[in-house]
């Protein structure tokens, strides 16, 4: 098997977080901003996107909104599981109610029987 050498870029020369954002990043920021406006207020950032000029600034905004979208979906997922808990509670309540009704019926039956007995006695 041939192993091909891959030259590494010199990070100090290649990396420039103060490079002006290119047209693609501008559009990505705009679309994430549109997405951000649909998030719950608590998850929205306070970043003014028109003031984003560099790749470093862009990255910080992109990260916050991407994570916020993830958080929003996680919260929705958590909410989705809550009705199941409620349903369980309803079932439990219903079960307790059934149990109480059963006990009541049993008590009534016992009372009726004892009354009957009493009646029979009388």
């Amino acid at each position: 098997m041939t192993v091909i050498h891959v030259p590494r870029p010199k990070v100090k020369l290649a990396m420039d977080t103060s490079r002006p954002v290119n047209s693609l990043l501008k559009v990505q920021i705009q679309h994430l901003h549109d997405a951000e406006l649909k998030l719950p207020m608590a998850l929205q950032t306070d970043i003014y996107i028109n003031a984003i000029k560099t790749e470093g600034e862009a990255g910080k905004y992109i990260r916050r909104v991407t994570e916020a979208i993830g958080d929003a979906h996680a919260a929705a997922e958590a909410r989705r599981t809550r009705p199941a808990l409620k349903a369980k509670r309803v079932i439990e309540i219903a079960a307790v109610a059934d149990e109480q009704a059963e006990q009541k019926r049993a008590r009534a039956s016992r009372k009726k029987n004892s009354t009957g007995k009493r009646r029979r006695k009388t």
Binding site: M1, T2, V3, I4, H5, V6, P7, R8, P9, V11, L13, A14, M15, D16, T17, R19, V21, N22, S23, L24, L25, V27, Q28, H31, L32, D34, A35, K38, E55, G56, A58, G59, K60, I62, R63, V65, T66, E67, I69, G70, H73, A74
Partner: protein
């Protein structure tokens, strides 16, 4: 019988940014004459009328700044050389003129003709010569990134030739929706580099996070632990940033991002797939979304019109566009241990071929797709019925054991 197709279970697509075929792979014609690359006959006029030949002077960074214009009107000029008449014929003679418009500097405008020599791109050129390189893979639209990437996800851009990507509520589902909604259900994932780079596919990010999305680290992990979905779409790092583990150099190769950082990224994706236990069952397509305004000599062909159209106002050229011709040619390479070394494919493809191939291979519903997707060719044959050996790129009877590896 096609053992390569019988074994294939996972298809991975890595889409890079904004480089033309001639710019990245054109020099390979000297290595393999079957590859339709740079010759001495090619040139473009500059604004003084002098003919500028392609030259092997491309540099990793700092040369294509400002970013060459690749919006619809600029690409129209690049393809038609400035001819706006009704009966015009594409001639690929407007690249230098187009770049001149941005700085008004004749010398600088000539840099749009520069290309890389193979020694500068050891990863891309090794993959192109070791596996299958496509001589005729074109961007889907003569326009910018987002509408071209839309073709890779939806098989259409819904009539858009610009950077608008809000497709919520559009009638055609993405290939991811079709896969995860199929019966039996398939698996699909878009892997973005990290949350600071994120994705260009924000519609899906909104609708399907977190089911559809993963990170580059997760991709590496999924390769190692045999958790790759049926279909994976990988996105590079779109911006320079300080990550959790240090400096993260943009790896998308979008001008003026560093080319070598992109080479490293492509190599890491290839190594992850190759070193995975799933290597016998996987195919990796490396493709660029569009040419980024950089010179290529092949005239984009006509294609089946889409059912959508862009108005004269939307195109910015004063002429409507019916999506009836393709964009400029881009580098595309298909990688699998079942592909013979040195394969050169001459059939015509564009990014609509991606959902077309995935949907046909995994046999998901193809009833509500765009005319462009329906007419797009597949780069991996569906493994159902008789497979035409002349079309099957994964044609070896036995898996190769001589595939290269990169030291990343």
């Amino acid at each position: 019988m096609a053992p390569g197709l019988d074994n294939l279970k996972h298809i991975v697509v890595l889409m890079m940014e904004n480089r033309s075929f001639d710019h990245m792979l054109g020099a390979l014609k000297a290595v393999n004459p079957q590859i339709d690359g740079i010759t001495d006959q090619l040139s473009n006029p500059d604004t003084t009328g002098a003919l500028v030949k392609p030259q092997p002077l491309a540099e990793f960074q700092g040369q294509l700044d400002p970013d060459p214009d690749h919006h619809f009107p600029a690409v129209d000029l690049q393809i038609f050389g400035g001819d706006t008449s009704a009966g015009r014929v594409a001639n690929m003679q407007g690249f230098v003129k187009s770049y001149f418009h941005q700085q008004g500097d004749v010398g600088h405008s000539q840099k749009i003709m520069y290309y890389f020599t193979p020694d500068k791109l050891p990863v891309l050129t090794t993959l192109a010569t070791e596996f299958a390189v496509f001589n005729r893979w074109f961007a889907s639209i003569p326009g910018p990134t987002i509408c071209n990437r839309a073709f890779a996800h939806y098989g259409t851009s819904f009539g858009r030739v610009d950077m608008n990507l809000l497709y919520v509520g559009e009638p055609i589902k993405s290939i991811y929706d079709r896969l995860i909604g199929a019966t039996p259900k398939h698996t699909a994932k878009l892997y973005y580099y990290d949350t600071t780079s994120s994705t260009m596919e924000i519609t899906n990010l909104l609708q399907h996070q977190p089911e559809l999305f993963g990170s580059y680290e997760q991709f590496l992990d999924d390769c190692e632990k045999e958790n790759l979905p049926d279909y994976s779409f990988v996105e590079p790092n779109y911006n320079d940033h300080d990550g959790d583990s240090g400096a993260e150099v943009a790896s998308d190769q979008h001008p003026d991002h560093n080319i070598q950082a992109g080479e490293l990224f492509i190599a890491s994706i290839y190594n992850a797939v190759k070193n995975s236990p799933l290597w016998p069952n996987a195919a990796l397509l490396v493709v660029y979304d569009e040419h980024g305004g950089i010179y290529d000599h092949v005239v984009p062909p006509a294609c089946t019109p889409d059912k959508f159209s862009a108005s004269a106002n939307d195109t910015g050229t004063g002429v409507p566009f019916l999506f009836d011709r393709l964009g400029v040619r881009v580098p595309a390479i298909l990688i699998s241990p079942w592909i013979p070394k040195g394969t050169v494919a001459d059939r015509v493809f564009d990014h609509a071929s991606i959902p077309r191939t995935i949907a046909k291979f995994f046999q998901v519903d193809n009833s509500s797709v765009s005319p462009r997707e329906t007419s797009a060719d597949v780069f991996i044959e569906p493994n159902a019925g008789v497979v035409d050996p002349a079309r099957n790129l994964l044609s070896l009877d036995a898996m190769r054991t001589d595939c290269p590896e990169f030291d990343v």
